[in-house]
């Protein structure tokens, strides 16, 4: 299944579901990455990780390993 980790820079995707549990998942959702939210993949950090996303009107940095928890359409 498709996760945010697979999305390419410049793509806009919609979140289907957040998997996992605990503080990381809660944090991801608290920051606005919820079901149905639109996310634009802005860029990748110079050293390859983390990635910068544009969500709900602001810029958010997420590690690739955590991006894997975010299922997208």
């Amino acid at each position: 299944m498709n996760t945010l980790k697979d999305a390419k820079v410049g793509e806009t995707v919609m979140i289907k579901k957040i998997t996992g549990s605990g503080p990381t998942k809660r944090r991801i959702m608290d920051m606005g990455m919820t079901k149905g939210a639109e996310v634009l993949i802005r860029k990748v950090a110079p050293l390859g990780d983390p990635i910068e996303l544009h969500v709900r009107g602001y810029e958010l940095s997420v590690r690739k390993a955590d991006a894997e928890l975010i299922e997208i359409e």
Binding site: T34, K35, G36, P46, E52, H54, R56, E59
Partner: protein, 719 residues
């Protein structure tokens, strides 16, 4: 009668600027008890009966981070008279997420809609009346930076507090979720206060671990509640925590769609984004960062900082104050020892922390600017990949960098690290990076054993970095520092020009706190060290003595045996190390005094014989260097660490860890290195050294229990 108003909001929403605006300079800064979270409160300007309690910037009231727990405990248990919820108007959706939670607390809320100037600039429009109606509380548009709307906000907040203005909270949850929560409310009606009923019901629905722990309901009640939750989860096909979060944002989306009109298309580049095109650019990011850090370091430590510090030490104290006091005391016929105590001991001792202050102020000035303008978040973004390797995050980079100048501001800079375990780990390991005061020791030892090699200093920095990495890897695997790794999900706030006043208050706060605390302890210890170094019992009589007979050398002699396996079990070497306890520069000056050379500036070959008495072999000198570079830092840094650590247990652990580490490393260097070059004979100490080495390698490579557990979570999720 005193009114307490709490200030709550997201990080980067202008809370601090508003707080400074409301309280002027009447602030008190400390820590929340027992934790490393900063606590700030102050009295409102022009309304001395109003206390403003600043709360940590938080995104939510979840049970997972320290800042959130501290905040929710305060709001639920200490119940302020009103809350000013400050919201960033350019980032309204995410900011309102916290608002929906605050509105469940049954405390009067006034919303300060900040950054209105930017909202207008972007061409967006917010229908404040509509928004206010939907949320059920008064909204005051403000621009904290431009000081707009402050008066109205104050009036509304005080009015809300005085009249306990509570409106009906908005209907955030729908359908079966609202039903489930209502059921839970019914079930716990008699167990909790009316005020907190809603808050607890929602939290129980989310299975909030802290609330469950605090309420400690009996099993049958919990099972009943669990039943309601499970029914809802089944219907919504999702877990309860996600259900709540999704519904909150769905509600917010609705509200925002009705009251906010945005001019720019979603995802269009703002000015900040355009700046970031260059600053976090794949190719340019690292060079730009290197240049900025170099400039900060160069100005505040190498050039301007050293100039001011040297002036303070040499001119202000050395040429003006000390001689003046000396003459004054001599003139009134004070006895020799008293003059020595006051001039050398007390004033000389005080000169050390005061000498630090200008350098610290400069470092903090630049750091505050970089942090307030938003650049530090970019640094963490860029550096994260490297730091993740050893269990930290990009935010730890700054303290390590500052450490190469001075450990005191470095330890204080760790405050920006969100995760408490990472914060503490950074504080413990940051002084392994050699600071400016350790350079003289490196120079002298390098001169002694190899005629002054230029690569000695870089090599010791390199050794320091390696030691930091090794320590972090080892510590992260211990129970104390392991555990659920902190999520690195970080906002990259819009760049903005920092408020000059905010920066200056920041700097002053930190410098003053340092001067007060470090000054008192340092002062005391300098007096003690002076005493130990000047007095002794000679020929059966107590009094002022030569350096060989002072108490310090007695102590040096008494404990020298501990350092025999390290190769420098001479009382001179030990006494020099002891003086490093107060200030690392003291090591070299003590060495000079004990060798009869007086004040030692740098190394010259004529000193060789004098120091030979200290170190029987070259490898012993190297071991001495390693020990003194990596043991616990100077007293100023130690007292800073004590204050910032927030826990006695961690503080003493830190001291123990640093000293044990440096002892083991020096032992290995001497025994194994010495064996390799043929200077040191094989013996029981050598065996111990090899065992330690094996132990170290094991600790480095042993499987990380928590990491494998986390991997399983990811695998389970992906399956």
């Amino acid at each position: 009668m005193e009114i307490k108003i709490a200030l709550a909001g997201n990080p980067n929403c202008g809370k601090t600027t508003l707080f400074n605006d409301l309280t002027g300079s009447a602030q008190y800064v400390g820590n929340w008890p027992g934790v490393t979270v900063e606590k700030k409160d102050g009295r409102m300007k022009n309304h001395k009966d109003v206390v403003i309690q600043d709360l940590p910037g938080i995104y939510s009231l979840s049970p997972y981070t320290l800042e959130e727990v501290v905040t929710r405990n305060y709001l639920v248990n200490e119940k302020p008279d009103a809350i000013i919820n400050i919201i960033d108007g350019t980032n309204i959706e995410r900011n309102l997420y916290l608002t929906t939670q605050i509105l469940e607390l049954n405390i009067p809320v006034v919303i300060a809609l900040n950054m209105m100037d930017l909202v207008r600039k972007n061409g967006d429009s917010i229908d404040i009346k509509k928004l206010s109606n939907q949320l059920g509380c008064k909204i005051v548009p403000i621009s904290a930076l431009k000081s707009e709307g402050g008066q109205e906000l104050v009036a509304e907040a005080i009015d809300a507090a005085k009249n306990n203005r509570l409106a009906e909270p908005p209907h955030v949850f729908k359908g079966s979720v609202e039903h489930a929560i209502a059921h839970i409310e019914e079930s716990i009606e008699h167990e909790v206060s009316r005020d907190n009923l809603r808050w607890y019901a929602v939290k129980l629905f989310e299975r909030d671990e802290k609330v469950v722990e605090d309420l400690a309901f009996d099993d049958s009640l919990m099972r009943h509640i669990e039943m309601h939750i499970k029914d809802c989860e089944k219907e919504m096909d999702d877990d309860s925590e996600s259900i709540i979060t999704n519904q909150r944002y769905a509600y917010i989306q609705n509200v925002v769609d009705l009251s906010v009109v945005r001019k720019k298309a979603r995802g269009a580049l703002s000015i900040s984004d355009k700046i970031d095109k260059i600053v976090t650019n794949r190719i340019l990011a690292l060079p730009i960062f290197a240049v900025i850090m170099f400039l900060v370091y160069y100005i505040s430590v190498t050039t301007l900082g050293t100039v001011v510090t040297d002036w303070t030490n040499d001119t202000l104290f050395g040429a003006w104050i000390q001689p003046a006091v000396q003459h004054g005391l001599e003139a009134i016929g004070a006895s020799g020892w008293l003059i020595s105590l006051i001039v050398n001991g007390i004033i000389g001792g005080l000169a050390a922390p005061i000498g630090f202050a200008p350098q610290m102020a400069l470092v903090f000035f630049f750091l505050s600017i970089l942090e307030d303008c938003g650049y530090m978040a970019r640094v963490a973004f860029i550096m994260d990949r490297i730091f993740r390797r050893f269990g930290l995050s990009g935010k730890s980079f700054i303290p390590f960098l500052i450490s190469s100048g001075c450990g005191v501001p470095a330890i204080m800079a760790s405050r920006t690290i969100e995760n408490e375990k990472d914060r503490r780990m950074t504080m413990i390991t940051t002084t392994f990076i050699p600071c400016g005061a350790k350079l003289p020791v490196i120079a002298v030892i390098a001169g002694f054993i190899m005629g002054g090699a230029w690569w000695a200093a870089p090599m010791m920095y390199f050794a320091g970095i390696i030691l930091v990495i090794i320590s972090c890897i080892i510590l992260k695997k211990t129970r104390m520092f392991a555990g659920k790794p902190a999520p690195f999900v970080m906002e990259l706030p819009q760049y903005h020009i920092p408020s000059g006043r905010g920066v200056l208050i920041h700097v002053w706060e930190r410098v003053w706190a340092f001067l007060k605390k470090a000054g008192t302890i340092l002062f005391l210890c300098c007096v003690v060290m002076w005493f130990l170094g000047s007095f002794g019992i000679h020929n059966g009589a107590f009094g002022l003595v030569d350096s060989e007979n002072c108490f310090l050398s007695d102590i040096g002699n008494a404990i020298a045996w501990i350092f025999v396996p390290l190769g420098f079990g001479t009382w001179q070497a030990v006494a020099s190390s002891l003086s490093g306890f107060v200030a690392k520069e003291g090591i070299v000056s003590t060495m000079g005094v004990l060798a009869g050379l007086g004040d030692v500036g740098g190394y010259t070959s004529s000193m060789h014989n004098a120091f030979a008495a200290f170190f029987p072999t070259s490898i012993a000198a190297v071991s001495f260097l390693f020990f003194n570079l990596f043991d616990s830092p100077c007293l100023a840094a130690i007292s800073t660490m004590a204050k910032e650590m927030g826990s006695r247990k961690f503080f003493w652990f830190a001291i123990l860890f640093q000293n044990v580490m440096s002892y083991c490393i020096a032992l290995m260097v001497y025994q194994i290195g010495g064996l390799a070059i043929g200077t040191v004979a094989f013996g029981p100490a050598t065996i111990v050294a090899f065992i330690l080495l094996a132990g170290l390698i094991y600790l480095l490579f042993k499987p990380d229990r928590s990491k494998t557990a986390q991997l399983k979570v990811h695998e389970g999720a992906a399956a």
